[in-house]
């Protein structure tokens, strides 16, 4: 349910990136959402679509990259993907394991273009 707050933050970050690069329009944005981020990709996409109107991202296509949970185990040295609902190492079941990735919640990149067609 907090995806609306996240979409708001996303639009702020997109607007900042556009401003930094002097772009008038952002036509694409790539977002990484980790399995442990507590963000539901579909809800984020919906909130973004509703909230982007009237901003620099009004025509922005959102690409959400879902990043799986990857853990590493100090007990047996195993490193690999794990189901976020399962505690412990997928190989030796030892707990706890450290999280290598899966917590991400970030704007990876934006696709910008100038609004004007230019004479060449």
């Amino acid at each position: 349910m907090h995806e609306a707050s996240i979409a708001e933050a996303l639009l702020e970050q997109i607007a900042e990136a556009a401003l930094r690069h002097g772009a008038r329009r952002v036509v694409g944005a790539r977002v990484a959402v980790g399995a442990l981020s507590a963000v539901e990709p579909q809800a984020l996409a919906f909130a973004f679509e509703v909230m982007r109107a009237g901003t620099v991202a009004a025509a922005c296509e959102l690409v959400i990259e879902e990043r799986p949970l990857v853990v590493s185990c100090a007990a047996c040295g195993h490193s690999g993907p794990q189901d976020p609902r399962e505690p412990g190492c997928p190989r030796c079941q030892a707990v706890p394991v450290s999280v290598v990735s899966g917590r991400e919640l970030c704007l990876v990149s934006v696709d910008v273009e100038d609004d004007d067609a230019r004479a060449t």
Binding site: S5, A9, S37, P84, G88, V95, P96, L105
Partner: protein, 229 residues
């Protein structure tokens, strides 16, 4: 001739919680500057946060200067309950949002004189998902899970259990009536969070609360010693 330029991809790498993190840092500076210990109390709806808080206020108010921020989607019911315990309280209504954020807490701080407080307890909106994502600038996140909710909650809502410093298993007086496997829940929570302090309590009967009060007093004391140095 006219030519439409292709879109250019620009790497950004911005944390989407950065705006909140910045506001939380600002709150943290306030809290540290005044030596006030701040606790963010989180749980699903109906786990017993407010009852626990009422008990805790009665136990600690004789020795500590306490205040409370109440977060709810709407109503002042919880703030009215807290006010009966003679403690300064401010209600935040999020108007639909499922969590408190650092900016809302910062606005609420205007209602308190932080320098005159030992501890501020923030009761977050009842929700097992969203509050964990939003740092408020607090010292500790403390979670309440009641035995009526089911022992697989740590696995279903790992983010919150991972973020908490302490977990209160509440409504232990109801344990004979429910199928809650205490050992399973504790193991699942510790698998996510090795250093998690766990207290088995009943906010209604008072069972197990003394250990929780002692832990809280130690945390308040630690925050104040930091100010002295």
């Amino acid at each position: 001739m006219l030519e439409l330029h292709d879109a250019e991809e620009i790497p950004v790498g911005a944390d989407l919680l950065a705006t909140n993190a910045k506001a939380a840092l600002h709150n943290r500076e306030h809290f540290l500057g005044h030596g006030v210990y701040v606790l963010n109390l989180m749980s699903g709806p109906g786990a017993g946060k407010t009852t626990l808080l009422e008990r805790t206020l009665d136990a600690l108010a004789p020795r500590y200067r306490l205040a409370v921020i109440e977060g709810d989607v709407q109503t002042r019911h919880d703030a009215d309950r807290i006010a009966r315990h003679g403690v300064p309280v401010h209600q935040i209504n999020t108007g639909g949002a499922c969590h408190l954020d650092a900016r809302l807490v910062h606005q609420a701080l205007d209602h308190f004189e932080l320098g005159a407080l030992d501890a501020l307890i923030i009761e977050n909106v009842g929700n097992l998902v969203c509050p964990a994502e939003f740092d408020l600038g607090e010292h500790d996140k403390v979670m309440v899970l009641s035995v009526t909710e089911g022992h697989d909650k740590p696995q279903k809502y790992p983010v919150m259990f991972h973020a908490a410093r302490a977990l209160l298993l509440n409504k232990m007086d109801l344990l004979p009536h429910v199928d809650f496997d205490v050992a399973y829940a504790e193991r699942a929570a510790r698998a996510l969070n090795l250093d998690l302090e766990i207290f088995r309590v009943s906010a209604r009967s008072g069972e197990g609360l003394d250990a929780w009060y002692r832990w809280l007093e130690a945390r308040i004391g630690k925050a104040q010693r930091h100010l002295d140095h």
